[in-house]
Amino acid sequence: MKHFSGLSSALAVSATVLLLAGCATAANSSAEPPAAGGSGDRYTQDDVTTATGIHDVTSVFSVPKSLPEDLNLAYINPSLGTPFFKSMSDGYKAAAEFYGVDIHEADLGNFNFADAVNKYDTISVFQPEVVGILTPSGAGLVDRTRADGVKLLASGIPIEGADGFIGTPERETGMLAGSVLAEGVAPLVDDEWADQEVVFVGLGQAAIPTTMERVESGLEGFEAGGVEPDSAEFPDLGKSATVADGVRVMADFLTAHPEQAIAVVAMNDQAGVGALQAVQAAGRQDDVRIVTIGADEVGRAAFKSDDGIILGEVDLNPWGAGWRWVEAALALALDEEFVIPAPERVITRDNVDELYPED
């Protein structure tokens, strides 16, 4: 038995040894993006384009080539187990390396937002100039960062009282997704779907208003694209919006709507892929078309392999979102301004191999 007791401590010790997008900050929306070329004391768009390769990041701030020493950043990632946020993590680490700053990372696990302040406390020992987070409940973090004199750059979801916000302009993103959906569905409405009711479905998370704004704008874009659905519904994906959530919600929806034709805007790739799986399991391929938002690895893989149910993916470029967060954070640290263009790139069958050749 002594062996096991020793083992317990030995394992603990040895294990630890071994494991040694559209709108800008509230105040920063008027700045110009970096110039395309030239040289000098700041990085240009050409520099960023070269550095980011296939990720093709549009820079949001022309970062000075000489930055203050010891400038470091921190990002509290909501879920490194989610492909979108893993890609984002890779992006902000690549940007930090490119610009020569340190970035410290903490993970909330599976969107454990209750732990955000504790995670901040942990990484605050590095005394970062700017800390970033995506959370729907950031009031406590605002107080904590303010007390430390650290700037809080909210990411994805605005936080009241934060020093800045960088994220996807939800309305434009949703509108774009809706218009892509309308473009693909319009011919069907005149043909195969002519005798069916058409239902618009927006898959979002009721608890996170920005996701609902995204999919509700999808309906707006869908209608603006010339397709008037007979009805629109917005079933709740729940807390985490995973593939499993997409399967569950869509399977129930298909059961409740056995005769209808269904046009779906999914708030992210996971929900869209889940919806796709539910459609395939139900044998309803002829009745459903989907547009997803995000274009992470999971979404792109499903898009490349499915048989035409997913019409396209609005490319939020998660890797690029991470890169841009670093640029925005550096702007905030230097009391300068940054901008972000709205997403305008849509992945289609015609361009997916060109845009993501390494998939």
Partner: protein
Amino acid sequence: MTATIVAQPGTPPASPPPKPKADPVDRILDVGIYIALAALVLVFSVASPYFLTVGNLLNIGQAVAQTGILAAGVTIALIAGQLDISFGSVIAITAVLIAVLTSAGVPVAVAVLAAVVAGLLVGVLNGVLIVHLNISSIISTLAVGTAVTGGAYLVASGQVVPLPDPTVFSWVNARILGLPVPMLIAIAVYVAGWILLSKTKLGAHIYAVGGNSSAALRAGIPVKRIYFTVLLISSGLAVLAGVIVLGRTGAGDPSYGAADMFTVLGAVLLSGIGLGGGTGSVQRTLIGVLIIGVLANGLVLLGVQSYYQQLLNGAVLVLAVVMEAIRRKRRSR
């Protein structure tokens, strides 16, 4: 975990069963978690210049306070033989109720009172199912917890509800004599828990009931009342943890508490308490809480990818369960 109580009137009262004398191997098993904690502290101190700073140690104290408070309640219930896993839902309903009610203009004191009542009702409901309907505590508290979490989502309409005036709970983020308030609360809880379990008649009864409920009943111990008491203590401490989370985040979120299951049960099991009841102490649970807290903190400081953190946390839990299995096997000889 089932509260099968067979009364045999006329049996003379008995004092709580004496603790068996530990042999050297059991002693080593017992000190294993202390060695593990010391080793982790040593490793992280060497590996990161930030770890052994006062600021970081206080951060750890603050971060583990919530887990610690919950784990103390679970420990007390488990010593009595009842595994309460509804604590996460109590955190959620507490935070959400206070946020929703204060947003509706209800005075803070009334909102807090409502949350306390709701939390204690969870304990009462658990007690009714376990004691009167003889349902396993795991099943009862899982079912009640699931329903209460659903209730929290309903109350919050599935939304995160910001506090209208977060400064009301700013005391949660304050420091007294340089020490974070949640940490001080946790210390108070553990001192109270230690006194309760080791210095009071109720504590002796809790051990006796957990060790052998039938014998305890024959000895005249009010077993049912003990069960209700420990479940209420567990729920009450979860309410306290819920208030702390609310103060820390400034918002009520029905998903709060869902992620605490692993850390709390991990800390409790790491203490070697086992699931059988009748043994354990809050002091040992505190060590389990600290091990998990130090691990979480140190791995972030070292920049270890979170996947490895999860792997290590799981490994620690497996280790704890294995140690308990060995201990149980030795006792049964």
